[in-house]
């Protein structure tokens, strides 16, 4: 692509706010896409990616309002074009591929009719021409039996096929710009690959410019020439793909890489474990044993996942370490020193070093307290911070977990579910712990919030070197976060080892069953709680 390639679309100082609370969703976006250029847009959920993509098409979703800024398509301001004209313009020159093809298609109409509808509606093609064009596109996209496919209904094809048909729909009119909004996120890995190839082929052939939106940094580097990183409504980094891969400048981009890598980089294992449990046996009251002879080791800066079904004793294990339930037998060592079984026998320093994150942040945060109160207690108890110093540190902690500092005086009860879990995490971090016990912290959250928390945990571990004991029943979370794992079943650790080994070649029958039940861990939606 030549340096002198002309600008196709440009976005200047675009500010879009949520009408309900005046929070900016996009905060001064400047973006230029030259003709034929493929630009990747990367960011976490909630960073404003989709809003930006739609704005490129001259659309603003209900509930949002544009405060200022323009989007120009070859000089023409999309926001000042009359609605009818804009629709025609979109059909002819712009394409959009949505994240979830299944929702984007009308189940009652045949695929061919939906593919060609816009072209026919705006008189861009005759019916015969449109049908032929669609059929040949199907073929180019590697869809089976292109002649016949168009006569099927959406439910008669697979998700990956549907996504490709949507690509056909978006490119039928040979648009100048196509916006891809996470077109492969909902697909499993092998289908993802097929679709991605189709996208690449299509773009190369048509010469259209594209904005490819995704949260997956490693994926976008394979398709885009330039990558923009969006964080909290601002573009924090905009550089050639090459540079983003090898020399990411913004810390947020670097953090994204940490997650995008999928499998965590293996770090050298320190020789002495930070936390060690030997032969722990325990139960409640005078009841039967819930844990039988459980041992584990957790090293500094690493994450150990404790996996099991509900009732397997994994939460009990976390409570034993936290000092909430004294073991009946066995010993616990922290940095080689014996750790008293009861919370009240532990020193304040020991309490600081081991922090516990509850499953439901809803219950773990006092609803009458405001955010500052919640953060200032551990600061006062563990670090003797108060007044201005505590306030400053509290703001830093909010920043660390991606919460805006202006919620400092909001009551905990007024925060959203995801915000509460982040706040609970910030409170645990206030102690600057060596060990962070996370008890099913993501199981009550939806997929988007869950991923956010997992990324956050990884990033924080990177920064602070905290060891994490991650208790969960969700194997896909284990993949994203853990170095080692132990599998619990009926109070016993039936398998232990590095995540890669256990997930690839499980030794115990029970682990195999767990893996099979999790469906290769591609769960997009988690059931709430247990």
């Amino acid at each position: 692509m030549g340096v002198d390639a002309r600008t196709l679309v440009s976005m200047r100082d675009l500010v879009i706010r949520r009408a309900s609370d005046d929070r900016p969703v996009l905060d001064g976006i400047n973006l230029r896409i030259r003709s034929g250029e493929v630009v990747g847009l990367v960011g976490e959920s909630g960073s404003g990616k989709t809003t930006l993509g739609l704005a490129l098409l001259g659309r603003i979703r209900p509930g949002l309002e544009r405060i200022r800024g323009h989007v120009r398509l070859e000089g023409e301001d999309l926001f000042s074009v009359p609605a009818a004209e804009l629709a025609a313009l979109r059909t002819a020159r712009l394409g959009y591929v949505a994240q979830n093809a299944l929702e984007a298609f009308d189940p009652a109409w045949r695929l061919l009719r939906q593919t060609t509808e816009a072209a026919l509606l705006h008189g861009l093609m005759g019916e015969r021409t449109a049908t032929n064009a669609a059929t040949s596109l199907y073929g180019e996209l590697g869809l089976p039996d292109p002649e016949e496919l168009g006569w099927r209904y959406p439910h008669q094809v697979s998700g990956g096929q549907l996504q490709r048909i949507m690509l056909a729909m978006a490119t039928l009119n040979a648009p100048d710009l196509i916006v891809f909004d996470e077109p492969t996120t909902a697909l499993d890995t092998s289908t993802q690959e097929t679709v991605l190839k189709a996208v690449r082929r299509l773009l190369r052939k048509s010469g259209a410019a594209a904005l490819y939106i995704t949260h997956d940094l490693s994926l976008v580097t394979r398709i885009a020439q330039r990558i923009c990183v969006l964080h909290r409504g601002r573009i924090v980094e905009d550089a050639p793909a090459e540079e983003i891969v090898h020399r990411p400048r913004h810390p947020y981009t670097r953090a994204l890489w940490g997650v995008a890598a999928g499998v965590r980089r293996s770090r050298p294992v320190p020789e002495q474990p930070l936390l060690e449990l030997r032969g722990i046996r325990t139960g409640y009251g005078t009841g039967p044993d819930i844990l039988h002879d459980v041992s584990l080791q957790l090293a500094r800066g690493r994450t150990l996942a404790v996996v099991g079904e509900s009732g397997s004793g994994k939460t009990t294990l976390g409570r034993v370490i936290a000092g909430l339930l004294p073991p009946r037998a066995g010993e616990m060592l922290l940095d080689g020193e014996p750790l008293p079984p009861r919370l009240k026998d532990r020193t304040q320093e020991m309490r600081r070093r081991i922090q516990f994150l509850h499953q439901s942040a809803d219950g773990a945060l006092n609803p009458s307290h405001d955010v500052f109160m919640i953060l200032s207690r551990p600061l006062a108890l563990f670090h003797e911070l108060s007044g201005r110093a505590a306030q400053q540190r509290a703001e830093e902690l909010l920043e660390m977990v991606d919460l805006p500092p202006d919620i400092l005086h909001r009551r905990a009860a007024r925060l959203s579910g995801g915000q509460k879990q982040r706040l609970a995490l910030a409170r645990a971090l206030a102690a600057e712990p060596d060990v962070l016990i996370c008890d099913e912290v993501t199981s009550a959250l939806d997929a988007v919030l869950r991923n956010g928390i997992l990324q956050l945990l990884n990033r924080i571990q990177e920064r602070t070197g905290t060891a994490i004991l991650f208790i969960t029943h969700d194997l896909s979370a284990v993949r994203a976060i853990a170095d080692e794992m132990i599998v619990m079943h009926e109070g016993q650790a039936v398998e232990a080892g590095s995540c890669a080994d256990v997930l690839k070649a499980p030794q115990s029958e029970h682990t195999r069953r767990l893996l099979a039940a999790s469906g290769a861990g591609s769960s997009r939606f988690m059931p709430a709680g247990q």
Binding site: L324, F356, L365, N366, R377, L381, A431
Partner: protein
């Protein structure tokens, strides 16, 4: 709490007319109580004429059974009753509320000791027990406050304990324990804010009942000692007038009712406000 549903502020953040009226009435009571010695035309125990004299320009509300000015007695009675009710309610909530919180958070032994002690006291008929205590310790405003306050505290204890028990099982209390908060801090800073609302509602009720208890004890000669006036006793002492078609004795009764209503409306308003902030309006 069926009465709560009926009174709603027009919109959250706005104070309803009922609230304004209740607050005005409260201020009127407080002013009357504070200024009683200044605005009362005659002394509290001063005998100024015939017994049971009718309303006149000299004695606006007539005189009582001993020939004391009824209006003056009413103002002093208001003052005495208000002070008595406020201090008694405060005492019962301080003692009962704290003991309840302690029972809920201080572990099983603490809970057993406190709960069984309260059970024993509640097993005794309250009035008889109060009579016994007052006979032993003598009568007087101070003894009255202590006896009624402590007996009421047993009921407050039960409510506070039940409410706090539920909160004590929450994860935020566990989180507080995990970071090494003191028991006192857990009670006062963590649990109390979350049980405050229902306790406040109960306080409104208790406050009204104190008038009745004082009146009952006064009837038995163990309440406020003559010649001190209190609203409850004034109803009783002058009750015979009603038989003659004179409704003057109903005035102190009405004042008690009005006060009880105003207090409860005010508390309702506070609760609505509280709920508004906790549950996001």
């Amino acid at each position: 709490m069926t009465h709560r549903a009926r009174i709603r502020p027009t919109s959250p953040g706005n104070i309803s007319p009922v609230q304004v009226a209740a607050a005005t009435i409260m201020w009127f009571y407080v002013l009357a109580a504070l200024l009683a010695p200044l605005i009362a035309p005659y002394g509290e125990a001063e005998i100024v004429g015939e017994a049971f004299a009718p309303w006149s320009t000299q004695h606006w509300l007539g005189t009582d059974q001993l020939g004391r000015d009824f209006l003056s007695r009413l103002l002093y009675g208001l003052r005495n009753s208000l002070v008595l009710a406020v201090t008694t309610t405060l005492l019962s909530f301080l003692v009962g509320g704290l003991a309840g919180l302690l029972a809920a958070t201080g572990g099983r032994i603490m809970d057993t000791v406190l709960s069984r002690f309260v059970d024993v006291i509640m097993a005794l008929p309250a009035l008889i027990f109060a009579l016994m205590l007052l006979t032993v310790f003598g009568t007087g405003a101070m003894q009255l406050v202590l006896v009624i306050g402590l007996l009421d505290a047993t009921r407050v204890f039960r409510i506070a304990r039940t409410l706090a028990m539920r909160e004590a099982a929450m994860d935020y209390v566990e989180a507080a324990r995990l970071r090494g908060e003191s028991l006192r801090r857990i009670m006062i800073a963590e649990i109390l804010p979350n049980v405050k609302a229902p306790l406040l509602a109960e306080a409104g009720m208790r406050f009204s009942f104190v008038f009745l208890t004082v009146a009952t004890l006064s009837f038995l000669g163990l309440g406020l000692q003559p010649p001190a006036a209190d609203l409850g006793s004034m109803v009783r002492e002058n009750a015979t007038l009603i038989t003659y078609g004179d409704f003057t004795p109903l005035i102190p009764a009405g004042l008690i009712a009005l006060l009880a209503m105003a207090v409860n409306f005010l508390i309702d308003g506070r609760l609505e406000e509280e709920e508004g902030t906790i549950h996001g309006g």
